[in-house]
Symmetry: D2
Subunit: 354 residues, 4 copies
């Protein structure tokens, strides 16, 4: 209810502030019998962690996950998987300048209004550091969903947009560059652009595209819990996300029905896939694909005017170690959230029929 759980049957609950002792979570409902490769969990965390390249924040957080329960002799036991990532490199002093003032387009002001006060260090609970827990859970969900392939990648940074259809891309190239764009030429341009933005002390937005392949038919519930509705909620719950579209998305608006409809092949697949792999809220076996829009990071390393708790104007200077563009590090988070949705609906689909 208070919003720190995601999923119903395969359920993640997370805890932790940016600069607290630890963050972590509990995965409840993970089926018994999954042979878990713990290294793969850490690998996913490493894709998200700071300091991995020149275009991301230079904070040094090892982000080592410790698993406390739910695994025995290498397999999940069906009991909850508790885990924690201990904070080791938190420089809380970096944030003393925001203790009493509100950073624009951050959650500082609303937290104070909602709760009466806030843990201001590093943004507290509103920090995207919380997503590390999602990546852990997503990495486990991926191993449960071993047949399903989930690939997210950066398809836009600022005005630079990858226009190729995803079918023409080589997903094996995603991890070959710092931006996580599978088109290496475009990746280079994006990287250069992010560096120039960083030099200005500014930030820039971007889009992540996610493609999910090999999804069984029948995942998703018909009315409120449509598969794409839950995917949308999952993506919109990631820090800095402003929009979600799947299949034909906003562009589908300008099409006529006769153009937009996906004609069937005799095996139940469709000739086109404007539906984006979901029909009436239920997976139809075609690829699921969607776009997620991220705004530019709010923390700019520039001087700006804002207000303090007393409502007085103050001038302050952005500092700390921040990402000039959030999308490269958000790629594993998008994949993790997609995996959590699919794991949850995979279990739920077991209950549809007698």
């Amino acid at each position: 209810m208070a919003g720190n759980s995601f999923g119903q049957l395969f359920k993640l609950t997370t805890f932790g502030e940016s600069h607290g002792k630890a963050l972590g979570g509990i995965i409840d409902g993970c089926p018994a019998g999954i042979v878990l490769d713990l290294d793969k969990i850490q690998e996913e965390l490493n894709r998200r962690k700071p300091g991995q390249s020149a275009i991301v924040t230079q904070r040094k957080e090892p982000d080592t996950v410790e698993i406390y329960s739910g695994i025995f002799e290498g397999k999940t036991t069906g009991t909850p998987i508790g885990f924690a990532i201990h904070n080791t490199n938190q420089k809380s002093k970096d944030y003393s300048h925001i203790k009493d003032s509100y950073r624009p387009s951050h959650a500082d002001y609303v937290y104070d209004q909602k709760y009466g006060f806030r843990d201001y260090r590093g943004g507290g609970r509103s920090s995207a550091r919380e997503t590390a827990s999602r990546v852990v859970a997503g990495a486990i969900a991926k191993q449960f969903l071993s047949e399903i392939k989930i690939n997210a990648f950066v398809s836009q940074v600022g005005g630079m947009k990858l226009d190729k259809p995803y079918k023409e891309l080589d997903f094996s190239k995603i991890e070959s560059n710092a931006v996580r764009c599978p088109d290496t030429e475009m990746a280079q341009k994006m990287e250069d652009y992010i560096k120039s933005i960083k030099k200005e002390g500014d930030t820039i937005g971007g889009v992540i595209t996610c493609v999910i392949q090999n999804v069984p038919i029948g995942l998703g519930e018909p009315v409120f819990d449509k598969l794409h509705a839950r995917l949308g909620e999952a993506m919109l719950s990631i820090n800095a996300v402003k929009g979600f579209e799947y299949g034909s998305g906003f562009a589908g608006v300008t099409m006529k029905g006769s153009e937009h409809n996906d004609a069937f092949n005799t095996d139940g697949t469709t000739k086109t896939n404007r539906s984006g792999g979901v029909q009436g809220g239920i997976s139809n076996g075609m690829d699921i694909y969607f776009n997620v829009a991220f705004k530019p990071v709010a923390t700019v390393l520039q001087s700006y005017e804002t207000i303090n708790k007393e409502g007085e104007k103050v001038t302050t200077q952005g500092k700390g170690r921040h990402d000039p563009c959030v999308v490269p590090r958000a790629v594993p988070i998008v994949e993790a959230m997609a995996a959590l949705v699919l794991a949850d609906y995979s279990l739920l689909a077991r209950t549809n029929k007698i």
Copy 2:
């Protein structure tokens, strides 16, 4: 879990197929003491109902709601509000042609795959007729939220896009035309366009914009249940929706942080509102606004090729009474879903502090 409930504290559960005896729902958690104007509920239903203008389906469904419980002496009692809308004009024979074949870009095929069989009459549970129950519940939620103003309107039909910022629009004009676009000149063009599409036996997509004003600060939960994530899920759960964006949305991607950030006024309001009234998942008191993209209706009144249950090719002819463009009738549905989200989060916000 099976997806027919929405909300946690103010919770709607719906039932009903397009051509069954009745559809309806239960609202659980509606606070006691709301003086309910029942006529306003029926008025909202009338905004959604078929046959209201020349550009919508000409089916005749009176859509009269009967309330069974939860109201006593004109006020809500705090107990569940059960209601039903009896079906009266269902022409099931219209659908016998789809009993054994699968309409493209409809849910026919996935229902059969998921459940083993389906109630094919009128699309059964996958029909947008289900949304009538949402409109009833939304109309009650609106009366609970009497301070908050929710206005949705059509901002795009096919390529025709209303480019004025919402602040320049007169919301009192929304109901003045069949399209529900507050710019009467644009409304006329849209209406003409929809008529021409209808004449072709075709359909067209559109966008609904929703503006929510007078929202108290502090609604929304910080992590998975961010206010905009729930709004997004709510909208994506409406039939035919393909995308959702709030505040700067997809356009925000191309902005720099220094341009995108909303500077504070000394009273805590902001000079700009690219955040769209939500910061870190929590309402900040500014207007909430978002766009919802609808694909073209899948039923075209043309001849088309598809497959039957046996996987054989069949040629069929779209018939029945359908909407050439879904957005005019979807406006009250968008408002209803927004109201349900806000009612739910308003109650939840009562529990944040000691």
Copy 3:
């Protein structure tokens, strides 16, 4: 959340006041493909309905259920089953004497305190009439659980207690008498006793025992959602219930571990069954059995002193048509709630393993 839903995967939500237009509910999550015998649903309702014998209330409520959705061509479709029972014989005037005063040991006072006012007619939502909806849902759950046998019966009325172990009883006799006690001799004594209590204008409590046979191993979750914990909650949610015990129950308290432990046979069954078919919250394949204690009905047809809304003493006279002893009509309710729990956990158990 507001307490009108039961179950997670197989979920019942109910609505309706004693004297409103109708009561009913929605069953969400019922799997597709169950061939439903609708007559059996009505039969269960008839076991609960007033006027069925001389020892129950003489109100005349036909309690005919109308099913609105979720069933097509005789089978469940996997979509929600909406249903209603219309009220036809409500004599609201019978209750005008309680409009302004509070009946002792009824919910009148707490409803006014909690909600600010109440629908006082027939007890409104606090009336056991709500349980008719549970019986409908339970009857459907029973058909889903066709392998499992659920038999409840009256084992005590006042001080008259059936001391035979349930294995010595013939469950086919339960419906052979008005009390629903499978020992016909004891049944006659209980019936005579209830009649004498009724003559006094008084009421008496009782115990229902429920035996569930043929339960698969593995239903129930290990920690908070232990199978017996949910059964206990289910039973305690029935009007007038004051206690629940399963297996050895309160009597097990005085036993030593060496006496109480159930030794295994080589096939995994146990020689004794003090555990009551549940071990560590999970069914072990042995019979589940439990007792449910019901207090005497609070409405006595005698003169009594109480207070009115202003806190003044008033003398009033119990009237209306009430049960002298609630247990005979509560037998199908106990069975229904047991069936709902088992249906829910049966679905959940499908998700335990890869």
Copy 4:
């Protein structure tokens, strides 16, 4: 869903096996602004921990709780409270004898059947060690509910039963003896009896009575989530519990309505309190009291026959450090679960009215 969460608004989720690295939990929904005394949390844990007296298990577990999040500058922040208790003294070798065989009246067999295998060390997830996490959460709930007084105590051990009404007891004596019985004379007898049972290598059951005072009127929901139904579920979810009764309980069965009804005083209180502080599922402001029955601990330090995984008979010898009687250490667990229920319903009650 998988049963490791309790509560809806004030929600505890736990993780951890008896012999894993750590156990712990997350409290989600705890309101912001509670000034927390961390020592009191540890004190509650100490009441539960092994080795505290001669009549409990002599295992040495410091059970020191580490809080990771959700508290800042001494106050709850409204964000989730994550915590862990690291295991330090686990002697897994003690359990190698049960790796391949099933202890009678333990969960070994059903875990293997349900999940395919189990973490057998110390009972794994089925160990009552899990309840340490409940005590942490309950200790925080108690501080939130600072006005409400919750006192549990041992009222029966084997056949030794404290027959005094709770009003004649001095709750300040509960902690004065190892049994946690407020009647010191009876406490001595119980203690002696437990010692004699222990000497036999046997175990014995008991009853805990819990009294909750100063409860505001209006907590509890009318139908499925009656306050006493949730209390019952909470208690039945504690290891070894076989029964629950509140107010007049099973004894109320033999009373007539005219005797059982609680007559009102003019201030809305009642002259008697057979209702046990709950009417129609809603607190009425009177004391809530209930009894919880615990079976004898299944582990007896005697030789016994059982079966192994292959279904072969084996003779084994109970060993390890176990409690001869569980109730003294279960007192803080009962209080904790009661506190969790009340905290949850206190928050929920904020949403009943406009």
